[in-house]
Symmetry: D2
Subunit: 169 residues, 4 copies
């Protein structure tokens, strides 16, 4: 009756704040490797999943070529449930590239405002949202941030307050 | 088109591991108050919510009277989306009390295997799952644990491995 | 001129809150193994040290036999700097057993009010105190808790407030 | 007999990694305010202390004027025990400015390789070292990093490995 699906979830890793770590030598936040597998293990996630690293980029540095690559990986995935970890700054832009093209799959873009390596990160909560959204929602491209679910054609990041909202709330 | 709802979410707090804190004087894990509001604020949750403390109990100590009180609070809630924080040991039992009676509302029971006050708690991830489930799923009573979504009539905690699964996987 | 010593530090592990971990199956705090090596590595401690597990006990369960064993391990240690991790409840009692017997060595007893596995543990700070005390102080038996240094013959735990102080402050 | 002192400790805050926090809006590590009081409270430090914010600077941006100001604050302090929180990159330089001038007081410079706001920070451990050093050591200017204690005239940061050592180990 209810539409809860059991199929495997594919995580496409693209970088973003969620995966930034502190480099003690330089004092900067850098990408070394994705922590996604670790986070999901600590969270005791038993939904079946596979992790694919597409890139590790700050989303402000992403080009249209990058977004097309992400789209290509969505289309190529054998799974019908996909979570894309992504920097928040251009997450809505990538959603708009994926939205019209990726059909028949539930895709959730998600990230974090605070890296997972910080005590008070929002990463775990946000990943819970994304993992659940792709299991519960009909095919479509979504953004799951701030405990809310947005469709790809009605979402923006309000940079002044650091929150996601609809184009017109 | 898609069924993402915007309505306010009511959190019914009943206790459980998620809200246990270390009492340095006694060396025991105890309930003092719920941390739910704090957790959701740190997680930058902007879904509208209200928190109602029904009880703060270890779920092994819950009686049928307690479960009926939780059911009563579900029925009395003006919201159609309810998240119930609950100890994991008898979460499935409470779900079975709520399932046949609570109609027209999406209800998710959720808890944690590790208290929120620990470094490696699953609380944040699990809450993200529950918050999303009640916004995405049709009316019904669900358990959201281990990154999976279970219906009230097909869920059990496997205590040997400390994980939730279907009655027959 | 100053008395900063470079010699290797021996850690004698006896248990106590510092090493308690949450057992998700039982919901209890238990001992599985010492985390001392991990804590010191994360803390980037480069003072040379060796870890010896003597026992893993709640200090309320310690017997005089246990304390005599700890004393024996202090006397047998080739190092002249020893840090003993110990439950706080009877730390002062063990100090009084060691004090008159262990000469020619700087020994610091230390523990934690909150286990290391909690977000807001005092374990790291306290270990920093102990590691420094045994490098800076003349031979003797000390308790390093609450950012203070006590001599073995003038220390008690005030259980009502959960703090260490002198016998007469 | 032993030289453990009870007098109040003055914390001179100058910035450095220890006090850097993540700014979710910009994605950068920034100074907003010192966390020292919070850290010491969570660590259950009951050594009497007072906190004075001298500046909040990355130590690479410190000028000789800054170091002379720190020296001036050391000389002006009524306390004979002083802990200076400081960025690690030029901590040894400041120590060399203070060393010949500050007499009759035990001064420890300390910092962190990982900000306190990260899960795996060395801040708590390092502060424990500094707080203990100024209570145990004779007057002088010291650097307490990596669980070791260095005198001002024989310390350097090895930037390649991110550790402090003697000029000639």
């Amino acid at each position: 009756m209810t539409k809860v699906a059991d199929g495997r979830i594919r995580f496409l890793i693209t970088g973003g704040t969620i995966d930034k770590e502190y480099d003690a030598q330089s004092g900067n936040l850098v990408f070394s490797r994705t922590r996604l597998g670790d986070i999901l293990t600590l969270a005791r996630c038993r939904a079946e999943f596979v992790v694919e690293v597409v890139m590790l980029k700050d989303s402000l540095d992403m080009t249209m070529e990058d977004r097309l690559l992400i789209r290509e990986r969505c289309l190529a995935a054998p799974e019908s449930r996909i979570v894309i970890t992504h920097g928040t700054d251009t997450m809505a832009d990538t959603a708009r590239v994926l939205g019209p093209a990726v059909t028949g799959k539930a895709v959730a873009l998600v990230g974090a405002m605070i890296p997972y390596s910080f005590v008070h990160s929002d990463a775990g909560f946000n990943l819970g949202c994304a993992v659940t959204a792709v299991q519960c929602l009909p095919p479509g491209v979504y953004v799951t941030m701030n405990g809310r679910i947005f469709t790809w054609d009605n979402v923006r990041k309000n940079r002044e307050i650091g929150e996601f909202g609809k184009l017109k709330e």
